[in-house]
């Protein structure tokens, strides 16, 4: 499974000294563990499928389906060329929600843990509770990954990382999804053990 590089850093190297040294292998591709992307198009397809999956969760795919091919292309080209304005001009539409709603239908998120074998946790989770209260990051973890949370009285054993920072557990999930999603429109959350020092 291909992870965004920022996620890999959070997950595997957040405590290592900077700069992060990466070893690039040019042979013996681990075909067993990873899908081989034969071409640039395959990467693009993978990226677009992630965006589509995210929009299926957020808007029942309505937004992405209303876009033209050109817009999809711009999304990818913007990312590829590191042109944020090009990218955001389109991605902005994916981050909107109807005024009468109070958020997305479901939040596209994935929770990664280094300690388990399971690649990641992904479930349907709404940004707003039935009583109208906004769900927070804490609510999400309590629901889908209670082990990540410190027990009431116990000491904090894990860090909840997004983009190299630890947002407060009180942060509304909808806000996080709008502002801290990766380009593939998913919120990639890493649960890593608290550094011992």
């Amino acid at each position: 499974m291909h992870y965004p590089i920022g996620l890999l850093f959070d997950l595997l190297a957040s405590s290592s000294a900077l700069p992060w040294n990466i070893t690039v292998h040019f042979k013996s591709f681990p075909e067993k563990d990873l899908l081989h992307c034969p071409s640039k198009d395959a990467i693009e397809a993978h990226f677009m499928s992630c965006v589509k999956e995210a929009d299926a969760l957020k808007h029942k795919s309505q937004v992405i389906n209303e876009m033209q091919k050109k817009d999809h292309k711009q999304l990818w080209m913007g990312l590829q060329n590191d042109r944020f304005d090009q990218f955001w001009a389109i991605n902005r539409k994916l981050m909107e929600y109807p005024a009468e709603e109070n958020g997305f239908r479901y939040i596209p998120f994935r929770i990664y843990q280094t300690t388990t074998e399971r690649p990641f946790i992904q479930k349907l989770f709404r940004p707003v509770a039935a009583d109208g209260q906004l769900h927070t990051l804490g609510d999400l973890l309590k629901e889908v990954c209670p082990s990540a949370l410190a027990p009431e009285d116990g000491e904090k054993k894990n860090q909840v990382m997004i983009h190299g920072i630890e947002p407060m557990l009180e942060t509304p999930l909808q806000w996080l999804s709008e502002h801290l999603s990766y380009p593939d429109n998913f919120l990639h959350i890493s649960i890593i053990p608290q550094p011992t020092d």
Binding site: G132, L134, H163
Partner: protein, 1180 residues
């Protein structure tokens, strides 16, 4: 869009207004009276008070309502005493009106009513037809009546002069009583209903209104001569009706419906511009025979009615041609009344709970709307109004509350006090106290808390979480805190004791007591405490179909989710997590990036390409659009700088060719939108000189906007222009209303070798304007085609520029309205008179103004796809030359000069039809409501004098010709605070203020004026000095720089004012500078820039070109010639912010060096002079 207000009356007769921008009902400023009915227009509101008298409430404005009274003093010459008041017996009165037929002594001219006051005493008018007269203002003639001239001749036997005096309407923001129509000989017949409308029938006079009223005896009355300058009207006229009327409703245009006591409706037919009272009645039967029509309300093309069973009905098929409509449709809901306001929006008051509803979803295509939505706005008046008066009271109340814990006796007095403060005025019903007592047990038990409770209360209120008021923090019995508000509601019903005429009072007193307890903090009303409404009028309330109103959101308790859910609420809570995220991100960036700045970029240069298909206006003849492939290649250098090239690949004679444009050479990208094409023009200095830009067209508007935004961004990047324009920027506007701005380079005004102005880089800013004016302190104002005033917010981008090309804040929606005109042409023939059958050689019978293009009503489209129609075709009566009653203008043949009356020699006639269209865009502009402007001028700051504390002088002319001076304008508050009206004797057209507070203005009759004694301490100056115009020319615009004064006449001649000195700022004479000028702007360095009418390039002609006057020197203020810049459809330029003087020393040094090389004598003055002569060889 400006804020406007909804007017309403509650059950107690109190009048409230609700702003489209607000969410609270505000109590009408004049609370002396209680009202039964109100009917509003935009600028005023008419009402029937409980004394059955009619009142008009004229809203305050910075521009006074003033009317001129005039009288003529006539004299005849006799050999003994010269000119004297002794006239011949056959002559007119010594003091008369203009015709001489009526005696009119100065002391006999009285104010029309108590609501007027004199502005000053009588004075002599020394302006005669745009030209100043000799002292005394006398004009001479051979005899009465005759043609008068300024000059006294040997045969001038009589003379006269005009005395003028202004009166001013003073009863603004208050209810002014309209004299009753009652004839003392008859029994009084008080008014029962009243309706105001008809403002769309005609613009003349300004603000004309139709005011209709119905008396108790069922008679219908019409108020004559109501208009903006005459808000009270003059008299009541009785209209004949076939039966007794009960209620009346008059729409903005020509609809007028009346309900009869028998249940039918009467519809007025034949209402038109020439006959606003209409001609006949027709009857419309009610929807069902058993339930007659009780109430009716009409708009432009809708009629809503209520029948006796409270059902709501919508009349289908109503329009100007068929005011009766076709059939009734029953709507949902039961209402006591409905009211149709502007844009045919509808409000209603429901039967059961007297709540007010707004009809949602009313659009031109769906006039009946979708649903009724309750307006739950609270009454701010109670809050803010009592806020000041209650600040003491509430504190007292609060402490009183504690005391009250011991006994119940204080409670009534407490509520009494609050209701007192809430409802000032003499006619407050006395029973408040007695009524309160029976209902109070619960209330007082509720207010008998322990001290612990009361001390806890303010703490809770202060916490941010209670921003959304919950029932808990309200004081109440400790046992059942949450029930308190509900108890209060329960009280409402039993309290409606039948013995009392005003039923809802207990509720409001209960409510006010509640309101006082939370220490007057900003706690809006509960939805349950809504006011009980009796009447509503939306005639002054402009709700656009798409606008967002805040009237529906104060739904306390019922759904707290609505407020807590929106993320922007509870700022305190968000602050913590938001701040923390921000802080962490900053730290992360520091940790991960800043220490590694010295690492080289892995990829040094990147090329980024965007390709597409466009159409290109080809270079060769015959010119036409050809399909081309285009590619924009963008390189990023290792220093991060970006540069781009645009390639256009085309095929000619099966040979592939391309042209390319370096984007760092592009000087302007101009959208050229028309009905059919989405195109834009791309200019470089070379192409500006040729008057032949690269023109490209896209298939869709979106596509064009994408390209335009991308190219524009690339141009800005390659020139390193970003962010907001600097305060010195030069602003200009094209004839399409597009706004462009250019950063002046320091050598732009270099006296020796200025930057050629075809090299200036112009970038577009969102928005749509007709006029823009700036000054070097960053104050920028604009005026739209619809005369709306706008102030620049400091943003950039907007319009089609999104993302990085646009600032994220300071961008707002902007709209503009303009009219499209077509002409209907007819020729006379002996058999049938004027018909639409012309001669074969004639122009099209429906054409544009020139007659060359055929323009029919059906085929004429809005100017571009950005515009959409907002009205139907209507005859334009305001064309120059005048029209007859039907709008026709006559002439002997096409094309000729047209006049507004028919003579024997006229064989053709034409009339002008206008249709309004509207554009909605966005840009860094905020509206300066409510006064519409015709011209504006901001003081150019002299170099070095900027920022010395005093406010920025800004003068304007309103669209009606009033001269205004804006107070409180500064860098921080560029919109200023209010207008100061400067009286004039005639409407003005143009104004300009120079750097030394010299204010010059041009009146609509073409004469010029200088305003004396304007200074920071006397911002409006003291009096006008009439300056004679250049001979036989009518001026139309004036511009004043540091000291130079330039004026422009209607024939495109530019004039320089000679002899202006500090001691004699009016100057001595006009000197001709140039012709072919459309608009002039003189800057703080006395630099002169104009828009030239026509400029010939090497490839084509361009109309509307920016030009810079060259060789303007202190000793040669008129300059020598023109340097031509960007052009082709430019309409307006403001150079007045650019006070950037060329680095004088530098230019002189280099000049010195160069001249030194040439062996010319040194010494600054001589060098400059010498350089002038040798300028050519050095510069080129």
């Amino acid at each position: 869009m400006p804020d406007s207000v909804l007017w309403a009356v509650d059950l107690f007769g109190r009048v409230y207004t609700l702003s489209t921008a607000g969410q609270y009902w505000e109590l009408c400023k004049d609370t002396q009276l209680e009202f039964k009915r109100v009917s509003a227009a935009t600028q005023c509101c008419w009402g029937i008070a409980c004394d059955h008298q009619v009142y008009v409430y004229v809203c305050a404005s910075d521009v006074p309502i003033r009317r001129r009274e005039e009288a003529y003093e006539n004299q005849r010459w006799n050999p003994v005493g010269g000119f004297c008041e002794k006239l011949l017996p056959s002559d007119r009165w010594p003091w008369s009106d203009v015709s001489g037929l009526q005696h009119r002594p100065l002391d006999g001219v009285a104010l029309p009513s108590l609501h007027w006051e004199w502005e000053s005493d009588w004075y002599v008018d020394e302006n005669f037809g745009g030209e100043p007269t000799e002292k005394g203002g006398w004009t001479y003639a051979i005899d009465f009546p005759a043609t008068y001239t300024r000059d006294k001749k040997w045969n001038s036997c009589v003379r006269r002069r005009r005395w003028i005096r202004y009166r001013r309407y003073k009863s603004r923001d208050s209810w002014a009583k309209i004299p009753s129509k009652d004839d003392p000989k008859q029994l009084p017949d008080p008014f029962n209903d009243l309706s105001v409308g008809g403002w769309e029938i005609t613009d003349e006079p300004v603000g004309r209104l139709s005011v209709w009223a119905v008396s108790l005896q069922g008679k219908v009355w019409y108020r004559e001569d109501v208009s903006h300058p005459n808000p009270e009207g003059s008299s009541w006229s009785l209209m004949d009706t076939p039966a007794e009327a009960a209620q009346i409703s008059c729409g903005p245009h020509d609809l007028l419906w009346v309900t009869l006591w028998e249940g039918q409706a009467l519809v007025r037919e034949g209402i038109s511009r020439n006959n606003p009272k209409g001609s006949s009645w027709s009857v419309v039967e009610p929807p069902t025979s058993e339930n007659g029509i009780m109430h009716v309300s009409v708009g432009v093309a809708v009629v809503w009615a209520i029948t006796k069973d409270r059902k709501v009905w919508f009349r289908r098929g109503v329009n100007s041609h068929n005011p009766c409509g076709t059939s009734w449709i029953e709507m949902v809901g039961e209402m006591t009344m409905v009211n149709v306001g502007l844009n045919d929006q509808v409000w209603g008051i429901s039967c059961d709970d007297r709540a007010m509803y707004f009809r949602q979803g009313v659009t031109p295509s769906e006039l009946s709307g979708k649903t009724w939505k309750a307006i739950v706005a609270g009454r701010e008046s109670d809050r803010s109004h009592s806020g000041s008066s209650l600040s003491l009271l509430s504190a007292g109340c609060f402490f009183g509350d504690e005391v009250r814990g011991s006994g119940e006796s204080c409670a009534p007095s407490d509520t009494d006090a609050s209701s007192d403060a809430e409802r000032p005025g003499p006619d407050q019903p006395v029973p408040a106290e007695s009524l309160d007592c029976p209902g109070d047990p619960k209330g007082s038990s509720a207010s008998g808390p322990g001290t612990s409770r009361t001390t806890e209360h303010p703490v809770e209120v202060a916490s941010p979480a209670t921003q959304t008021p919950r029932p808990e923090p309200r004081p109440g019995p400790a046992s059942t805190p949450a029930e308190v508000p509900w108890t209060n509601i329960d009280l409402k019903e039993p309290k409606k004791t039948p013995s009392h005429p005003v039923a809802g009072l207990p509720e409001t007193t209960g409510l006010s007591s509640l309101e006082v307890l939370p220490l007057g903090l900003e706690e809006p009303y509960g939805a349950d405490d809504h006011p009980l409404w009796a009447w509503v009028s939306g005639g002054g309330c402009a709700v656009e179909a798409h606008s967002v109103l805040k009237w529906f959101s104060v739904q306390l308790g019922l759904s707290p989710s609505v407020q807590t859910l929106s993320l922007s609420i509870t700022p305190a809570q968000t602050a913590a997590w938001r701040k923390q995220i921000f802080q962490q991100l900053t730290e992360r960036t520091k940790r991960e990036l800043e220490n590694f700045r010295h690492y080289e970029q892995a990829v040094e240069q990147s090329v980024w390409v965007k390709t597409g298909t466009l159409q290109w206006w080809c270079n060769w003849k015959p010119h036409k659009w050809v399909d081309v492939r285009v590619a924009l290649e963008q390189f990023t250098g290792h220093d991060g700088a970006r540069d781009s090239i645009l390639f256009i690949y085309y095929v000619v004679h099966e040979e592939k060719k391309y042209i390319h444009v370096f984007l760092n050479e592009v000087t302007a990208l101009v959208p050229v939108l028309n009905e059919a094409k989405h195109s834009f023009a791309l200019y470089t200095p070379e192409r500006t000189r040729q008057r032949w830009p690269v023109r490209l067209a896209a298939a869709t508007e979106q596509d064009m906007n994408d390209w335009l935004a991308l190219l524009s961004l690339s141009c800005c990047e390659s020139r390193k222009v970003h962010g907001r324009p600097s305060p010195q920027a030069i602003w200009s506007i094209t004839c399409k209303g597009d706004i462009f701005v250019s950063e002046p380079s320091p050598d732009l005004e270099d006296p020796v070798h200025p930057l050629p102005c075809d090299q200036m880089f112009w970038r577009q800013v969102g928005g749509h304007l007709r006029v823009v004016e700036a000054n070097s302190r960053g104050v920028v104002w604009g005026i739209g085609y619809d005369h709306t005033a706008w102030v620049y917010t400091g943003g950039y981008g907007g319009g089609c520029f999104q993302g990085l090309a646009s600032s994220s804040s300071n961008i707002y929606t902007q709209s503009d309205v303009k009219s499209v005109y077509i002409y209907e042409n007819q020729r006379w023939n002996p058999v049938t008179g004027y018909t639409s059958r012309g001669l074969p050689t004639d122009r099209y019978m429906w054409s544009d103004a020139t007659g060359l293009q055929e323009c029919t009503k059906a085929s004429t489209k809005p100017p571009s796809l950005q515009w959409s129609w907002v009205s139907d075709w209507s005859i334009d009566f305001s064309v120059p030359g005048g029209t007859d009653q039907e709008g026709w203008q006559y002439a002997s043949d096409f094309p000729a000069s047209y006049h507004g009356y028919k003579t024997m020699k006229d064989f053709v006639r034409r009339r002008c039809w206008a249709r309004k269209c509207k554009l909605v865009t966005s840009g860094p502009w905020l509206e300066v409501a409510p006064i519409a402007l015709g011209d504006v001028s901001i003081i150019p700051e002299s170099p070095g004098a900027s920022g010395n504390g005093h406010s920025v002088a800004l003068w304007a002319v309103s669209d009606k010709g009033d001269v205004l001076c804006r107070l409180g304008v500064s860098e921080l508050n560029p919109a200023g605070s209010s207008w100061l009206h400067v009286g004039t004797d005639q409407p003005f057209a143009s104004i300009s203020i120079g750097a030394c507070y010299q204010v010059w203005a041009v009146a609509r009759d073409g004469s010029a004026f200088y305003r004396g004694s304007v200074s920071p301490s006397q911002p409006a100056g003291d009096c006008w000095y009439h300056i004679p115009s250049p001979p036989k020319q009518r001026l139309k615009q004036v511009s004043v720089g540091q000291t130079a004064v330039y004026a422009l006449d209607e024939n495109g001649n530019l004039w320089y004012r000679q002899g202006v000195t500090p001691s004699y700022p009016q100057g001595s004479s006009w000197e001709h500078v140039s012709n072919n000028v459309r608009r002039v702007s003189v800057g703080p360095l006395d630099q002169v820039w104009v828009i030239a009418n026509k400029v010939q390039g090497s490839h084509s002609l361009s109309r509307g070109t920016v030009c810079h006057r060259t060789g303007v020197q202190p000793h040669e203020p008129k300059g020598q010639g023109w340097d031509y810049g960007i052009g082709g459809g430019w309409d307006h330029i403001s150079i007045r912010a650019n006070a950037t003087r060329a680095p004088r020393s530098a230019s002189l040094e280099t000049a010195g060096e160069r001249s030194g090389e040439q062996g010319l004598p040194s010494g600054p003055a001589q060098v400059a002079g010498a350089l002038q002569e040798s300028l050519g060889p050095i510069c080129c």
